[in-house]
């Protein structure tokens, strides 16, 4: 078991979510920064999809009841095992009764704690991810809780230490224009690609609510609800874009001016409120008519 002694602002159980259920109104959810999440699992010899803890702004204290191996990745936090400093991004061997303390990250937003075997809570619709928008999956983790350990092991930990990805002061995110860039004034796309946008405190796992120059539409037509993807930059009538993350709604009724590429989504998931992000347009592609 893993005994939760204290949590920071938000600690949730995440895996790779519930892909393929959008038809039922169920979003994918899962780890916001899948790159750091899968690394944590690989470092302890787990299947990449094993459930782990996602910490927002660190701040976790846990005690283990058995011998195990853990790894912490993502936003870099100070770590202490039984009072002694240990490193991020490598397997950490833990003895029964030992306590792991995770501090506040110096940069970035989300850290991942993988435990060998994964967290063994009951899956909901095939996944253990907490979806904050729909409420599916386990509730956020709280002090006093004991979490079971699963058996999602694929091999022995093979790497002692993985490179720690650098924090980006002003991350640059590649955006593919569309599907609804033609609903906006031409200046809107130029603005999006040239001016930084600030991440506001109203951001969460659903999306980054951004603040910057308003992106104005060329038409006031109503958009029928259409499917959304993680990375979509949806623009409500006030012109301030929302960059959707893991817990995004399945459909949305405001036009999407562009979509951040899958490779750059982990950078967006690590952007803190108050930080600024930039968007770089990718090569434009025309639409095809039939």
């Amino acid at each position: 078991m893993i005994e939760i002694l204290a949590t920071g602002p938000l600690a949730t159980i995440q895996d790779l979510g519930r892909p393929g259920l959008a038809e039922l109104g169920v979003g994918v959810s899962g780890a916001a920064d899948t790159r750091s999440f899968t690394l944590a699992n690989r470092l302890v010899g787990n299947a990449e999809s094993a459930a782990a803890l996602e910490l927002t702004l660190g701040g976790l204290a846990v005690r283990f009841t058995e011998h195990t191996v853990v790894a912490v990745t993502g936003a870099p936090c100070p770590l202490r095992l039984a009072g002694r400093a240990v490193d991020m991004c490598g397997p950490i061997c833990v003895a029964p009764g030992q306590r792991l303390d995770i501090g506040t990250p110096s940069c970035g937003l989300r850290s991942y704690v993988a435990v060998r075997g994964g967290i063994g809570v009951e899956p909901v619709l095939g996944a253990r991810a907490t979806d904050q928008l729909s409420g599916l999956g386990p509730p956020p983790v709280t002090a006093g809780q004991a979490l079971p350990v699963g058996n999602a092991v694929t091999g022995m930990p093979a790497v002692d230490h993985a490179p720690q990805p650098a924090c980006h002061e002003e991350p640059e995110l590649t955006v593919v224009a569309g599907p609804r860039h033609d609903w906006f004034l031409p200046e809107a796309l130029e603005l999006l690609g040239s001016v930084p946008f600030e991440v506001t405190p109203r951001s969460n796992r659903v999306g980054l609510r951004l603040h910057g120059p308003a992106l104005h539409r060329s038409s006031a037509a109503e958009l029928a609800p259409e499917p959304l993807v993680a990375g979509a930059l949806q623009v409500p009538p006030d012109g301030q874009p929302i960059l959707f993350l893991a817990d995004h709604p399945v459909t949305g009724g405001y036009p999407v001016i562009g979509v951040v590429t899958a490779a750059d989504l982990p950078l967006a998931a690590q952007a803190r409120p108050g930080q600024r992000v930039r968007f770089r347009p990718s090569e434009p592609r025309g639409s095809r008519c039939a």
């Binding site: 959008a22 109104g25 499917p227 999407v256 979509v259």
Partner: protein
């Protein structure tokens, strides 16, 4: 029909009518394009997610553009009857907005034949299309913070049954005891897209 880019892992097929969306969804499910991993219908669009290791955006767009537009072969062949008590808090407002009496609203709502267009907003929330055009009303100006599970509501061209308590801005005309979302079941959603729906009044 247009194929619109939607990032580097999906494309969006835009169609003219809901019937074409249902037809395209059925056709893409029966014979998926190379590398397609998920097919998600909405009101006028169908999202196709793909595995970038197996196809490219250009190849997918070309395959999608070659598809024929046609209505679904058997929309609503599986039909669910939803028992409704027409006593919703917005029934009088809907009557006022449509120039009908509350009784006429209830009768017209039952008389129409419906088919589920797509899901969204919340797990198990079905956008049920095909209602009487005379009952078309906008959403409430101010959404409710809590709509009870089982509320039967209308907005725009759709009807819906709230799967669980949630905020909501649709106009509530009645309620049902029929559960539409049971996540612990193998088929958690009672009304997946393509399902035929009839609303049938029950009187207590």
């Amino acid at each position: 029909m247009r194929v619109l880019p939607c990032g580097d892992r999906a494309a969006l097929v835009e169609l003219d009518t809901l019937a074409e969306v249902l037809g395209m969804t059925e056709a893409l499910r029966a014979d998926p394009p190379t590398g397609a991993t998920d097919i998600v219908p909405a009101a006028r669009t169908v999202l196709v997610r793909f595995d970038p290791a197996r196809t490219s955006p250009d190849r997918l767009a070309a395959e999608l553009a070659g598809r024929e537009r046609r209505p679904a072969t058997r929309p609503g062949c599986h039909t669910v009857e939803i028992p409704v008590r027409y006593d919703g808090d917005d029934l009088a407002d809907v009557a006022r907005l449509t120039g009908l009496t509350p009784r006429e609203v209830a009768e017209r709502h039952q008389a129409a034949r419906y088919v589920v267009a797509f899901a969204g907003f919340a797990p198990g929330f079905a956008y049920i299309s095909g209602g009487d055009p005379a009952l078309r009303v906008s959403r409430r100006d101010s959404p409710r913070t809590a709509v009870p599970a089982g509320a039967v509501a209308i907005a725009d061209e759709y009807s819906a049954v709230y799967p669980r308590e949630s905020p909501g801005g649709w106009r509530i005309i009645g309620r049902t005891d029929l559960p539409v979302w049971t996540p612990d079941r193998e088929r958690p959603m009672l009304l997946p897209p393509g399902t035929g729906v009839r609303f049938v009044e029950v009187r207590s």
